[in-house]
Symmetry: C2
């Protein structure tokens, strides 16, 4: 049984203290007490302003993780006064209230047992009474002046209990009207503290609530404000919420406290919590099995910093050891992989199963790739990029350093894990890995091997595997913890991550609309070879050709015919651009959009009048990935190379060269179409940033002021040339 209390602090604590034991009594009784860690958590909790929620699991076990909340059967939603009433405490916050009723109804109609603990009668009554008083005043005044001065009149001070009495009926009528919208019947329960002290009354109340829930009725519980002593002002509202959470925890009930007034979330805060989203603060007396993702982030940061201060040879050694483990522990890896494959059988399509599966030969070539990364890592971290003598004995150095903590999100392929781990180790970065659920067993063993390799130099924690329960969307919001996100997978994955990332840069490309412009001075054979290689060799790649731009003069020449013949032989489906179509009597199907990534044996062909028009077309419809000119005229080629504003611009070469390995960058991190940091194919350098080291004797800037004793020299000093990598 899950009980969820959604509240903020206007009501007296003791009221809720009485209610929560009831929640407890409906769950199986538990003797556990709140653990010290939970209390520490509560103490550090200080910036969430408005709402509270406690929870317990079916069969008396608390929920350890938010993802389990969706199994909740009974949910108590406690509305704090701040949620229910308007900012001026006069009248109800209708929009919020209605959306809460909407959410409660949705959950009730899913078959859960919902309970609402509400306040608001005072505010409702206050508004109503004030209006009545103003109205009667205004009628009197109007008799004299004939003017409506409603707005100018002083607001009378009203007694809270009178307001409560006047408001209760209207509040319930409003709830009734709203719940009726969802075919839900609501019932009113008015209680006071004393009702909980009397054993008989408690039993009665218990019975009533059980009966209501059994009949699919939502009980709406409120204090009988009209008969209780006036509430004492309580300035420590957050404290009240936390106390409520602790009470619920003692009853074996998990709690979520969330802000119910933020306009961006209030429309779905309750349903989001039940879906397991990271809304508000989650309290549970059950300690989750592993570390939290926040703790993992800290471990990766600390481990990464240690990794970065190792010698390059030590980092290479770790990678070599990991490569050895991949072959030595082959049987265990394949066994784990078999488990994944068996569980995925029938649930995944054949191509996905193939991506998921590992084999001896895959592991061997993975190990070879890792050794290449180890080799190329020697010259990455700590390379001096720039040296300046600022003054005598004051020297500045700019050196490469790791970026910090990377989050790499990859889809089903488990072979991604050791590769990404090796890249992170080579560049000295901490790493959070988030793999797909379908590869759980494989990822777990591969991660253990990575940590085993790291432990030879005491940096085991630099690489963390994030629990599959964590939502990618939530990870993408940890901007204090993660410095760069690298999605490895489909372009859809990249797009989703780019959308979800809040304040964290994402490295990758979501589109590859590559162009080839065949100039009027192109060579027939070269053009045909280049188009075939660019389009047909591997059409699903992001660096494959998507749009062929042909100079108008080439139409109906042998060159043109030869290209078309080749495309026909290769069974490439042609889509005609509007201008191309207008030149033909019988044209192929006209393109829907000139900005299409087919990713298949399909090609858009369009006609242009000049190299300038080709460039304009590329700027208008391209994705700044890779664009090529085919021509024998060097001047035209250079014009194209200078003017096309893409990450890669080629002359007489296939688009498919756009690749880290082919560029000679060593290990391939990916291809970036972002315009800052790494652009185009990215090697290890994309995982590095720089820091500035300044070594002086006792240099202060005031010595360099107008009348100071020193002058800036700013002499560039020689920088060691980099090795071949």
């Amino acid at each position: 049984m899950l009980s969820q209390v959604y509240r903020s602090g206007f009501q007296s604590v003791s009221f809720r203290q009485r209610l929560l034991p009831w929640v407890q009594s409906t769950a199986l009784s538990r003797s556990h007490r709140v653990q010290p860690s939970a209390i520490r958590h509560v103490r550090s909790w200080s910036n969430i302003p408005f709402i509270t929620v406690p929870l317990s699991r079916t069969h008396g076990k608390s929920f350890a993780h938010r993802s389990e909340l969706k199994h909740a059967k009974r949910i108590v939603v406690k509305l704090g006064s701040a949620v229910v009433t308007r900012g001026d405490e006069c009248g109800l916050a209708l929009g919020r209230l209605a959306s809460i009723v909407e959410q409660v109804s949705v959950l009730q109609n899913q078959g859960r047992e919902m309970m609402l603990v509400t306040s608001g009668a005072v505010a409702f009554g206050k508004q109503r009474l004030r209006h009545e008083i103003l109205l009667s005043q205004s009628v009197r005044q109007a008799l004299h002046s004939g003017q409506n001065q409603l707005k100018e009149m002083a607001i009378p001070v009203l007694e809270a209990r009178a307001c409560a009495a006047a408001g209760q009926s209207g509040l319930m009528a409003l709830y009734e009207a709203m719940f009726t919208q969802y075919s839900i019947c609501a019932a009113q329960i008015l209680v006071t503290n004393l009702d909980f002290h009397d054993e008989q009354k408690r039993r009665n109340l218990n019975g009533t609530l059980h009966e209501l829930l059994r009949m699919n009725i939502v009980p709406i519980v409120n204090t009988n404000d009209a008969v209780v002593p006036p509430a004492e002002p309580n300035s420590d509202l957050q404290g009240v919420n936390v106390k409520a959470a602790l009470w619920a925890l003692q009853g074996g009930t998990s709690v979520v406290i969330a802000n119910g007034t933020h306009p961006k979330v209030s429309g779905h805060v309750i349903t989001d919590i039940v879906e397991g989203k990271k809304v508000g603060t989650f309290f549970s007396e059950v300690k989750p099995a592993g570390p939290t993702v926040e703790q993992q982030g800290e471990m990766a940061r600390a481990g990464g910093r240690m990794l970065a201060t190792l010698e390059p040879e030590q980092r290479a050694e770790i990678i070599h050891h990991l490569a050895d483990l991949l072959t030595d522990q082959r049987d265990e890896i394949l066994l784990a992989n078999k488990k994944d494959l068996e569980e995925a059988e029938g649930r995944l399509a054949a191509p996905l199963l193939k991506r998921l599966s590992l084999s001896t030969s895959k592991l061997n070539s993975l190990a070879i790739g890792l050794r290449q990364i180890a080799a190329s890592s020697q010259d990455s971290v700590g390379r001096v990029l720039r040296r300046t003598r600022i003054a005598k004995n004051l020297e500045l150095e700019q050196v490469t350093v790791p970026i910090g903590v990377l989050l790499v999100i990859f889809e089903s392929r488990p072979d991604c894990l050791p590769q990404v781990a090796a890249l992170a180790i080579a560049s000295g970065n901490g790493l959070l890995l988030k793999g797909g659920k379908e590869a759980t067993h494989s990822n777990r063993i591969l991660h253990l091997l990575a940590q085993e390799a790291l432990s030879i130099h005491g940096v085991k924690e630099a690489i963390q595997l994030v629990n599959t329960r964590e939502e990618v969307e939530d990870l993408c919001r940890l901007d204090k913890m993660i410095d760069l996100i690298i999605p490895r997978g489909s372009s859809q994955l990249v797009r989703d991550i780019q959308k979800a990332a809040k304040g964290i840069p994402v490295m990758g490309h979501s589109e590859g609309i590559c162009h080839m412009y065949v100039d009027s001075e192109a060579s027939v054979d070269k053009a045909t070879r280049l188009v075939r290689d660019s389009k047909c060799e591997y059409p699903a790649a992001c660096n494959a050709l998507e749009t062929l731009l042909i100079h108008r003069d080439l139409l109906r020449t042998p060159l043109f015919d030869q290209i078309i013949d080749m495309l026909r032989v290769e069974q490439v489906k042609i889509h005609a651009g509007p201008k191309f179509a207008s030149y033909l009597t019988f044209s192929p199907s006209e393109v829907k959009s000139l900005r299409t990534e087919y990713g298949d044996l399909e090609l858009c062909i369009e006609v242009v009048d000049s190299v300038q028009e080709a460039i304009d077309h590329i700027h208008k419809y391209g994705s700044s990935h890779t664009d090529v000119i085919v021509t024998e005229n060097e001047k035209t080629a250079e014009f194209f190379l200078q003017h096309v504003d893409s990450a890669c611009v080629f002359w007489n070469a296939s688009t498919r060269f756009s690749d880290g390995y082919r560029f000679g960058l060593g290990a391939e991190v990916g291809i970036s179409t972002s315009r800052i940091h790494a652009r185009g194919p990215v090697g290890l350098e994309g995982l590095l940033t720089t820091k500035w080291l300044l070594r002086g004797q006792d240099h202060v800037v005031s010595d360099f002021s107008e009348h100071g004793s020193l002058k800036y020299l700013h002499e560039n000093l020689p920088v060691p040339q980099r090795n071949t990598n």
Copy 2:
């Protein structure tokens, strides 16, 4: 008068066609027709799904810009069926409806005249009737089976007009109940198409509505569905909205069509529109005076691309010309500046007025700075960073290129404009400038001069001044148009922009919590000099010292006393860290947080036991800006330099050297605490990215495959060493 219609398409067009002329008749009559440009706009409008809004200005003039909408007096909110009803078309979307009532009430209580055009009676009635029928069925079944099978029963098909009749009373009661919450009186108006055809009826209706508005009552208008013919299904809902917009435009009424169902905005969509935020699509028959910001973005992109292909000497020439204009046109500039100062008088505090004011000497030193930028720009764009021979006759080059389009947002200082313009010109970037309202006249003339300078090489449009009406928040969302945002101003500005930027990187630093660690082996005199320079020279700077970490062994030594004496002389207020406080009998006030940027003559002092503890402290509380060690022990210093993970790490040098000019980077763009792209003090290089040029003969990747004829060489070729800058 502004009329705003908020709708989507369930109702028949003709109904609204009749209503809109009424809106028109209450505004002054206008003979303008919709301009072709407006119709083009409408045609391209295709991805906003749910709502519509038209508007006209007081005295019969339409609003040309959203920012004027806040002056709207009369607002018609038309709720589309999709907004009012739930996804299953059965029952009302209560949360949305209530928040609409809430927003309408807020606007009404601001003194506007609100009108609501609603639908939803059919949906409301459908839900109600279905429930009745199911209930009566279930009672009958229950008599036989004793089971409640409500959920399993088939839903009867109901006639729309019967539903409307059954729903109308309940819908109005609900509106009544909700508006009462806000002390607002609502009135019901039921109309049919025929009512608009009859001149007498129209006059009556007009009179009734006027009377209601005069009495501060919100008229709620609905079709009298029970007496009209059944609605025809209309699949082109968007078309209906657009037609509604066009009708309103013809009446001199401006329109906004917005999505009313998106959970993230629906709680404030109407108030946002009236506040001038970029929600939905704005239709107006009045063409705004200048180009839209989107057009400006395109001009800056195109102009920037042309700028980038100029020779470096030509870019330098433009900057020199701008420097000349600043001195030649001094009188005009100062005159414009005087206007700003006069308008700001009394509204701005003295320090802000000082920042706003220009002078001959300021202009002269600006011109000198510009000439320095011109000199340093020679080696920026097109510099070769890397050359690789991939194969015979296949050579790869990585060259620097501009980032693209920069958005620079600066506060009151108008002298920022020429400086930023020169930086953009030097780096070949297109530029959107957004200055403060208070500097409007100064910025306008300075921008004209920048364009005059640019026009000597035909690239006038590369720099655009964005209209002051545009909201910074809206600009920060133009991710398709802007590649990098650079806020120049307070750290608050930077924080705001970082928060507002959606998918666009922001270069800057929001915090500068710099540390100095005085090691046990520090020299007394050096430490005192370095602390004084770092803290006292210019305490408001981001590179000023905020926390002094002192090795425990130094406590009660002459070194410690000398530093404390110096701080006392300099009148620096000391805050003690918890550990430092514990060592003292009478300690100064204890710090509230160890992570504080004082920006004033205040300093936190804390004690550490070792260099490692100092590093841990810096990682925990620092902002990765600039951190310094003072020691005579080279080994300790190198340990600190390697392990501290900040943008700038110094040994025996003042924190204040952390500055682009002092580093010898030439022109100063700012200091970045971001971990990707530029880090630390940023020179022109931070405004550059790279592209890859590959020159081949007819190279295809298939020749390099396993059995191909070619092998990758990947030879690093020499790169020309950079000049001193």
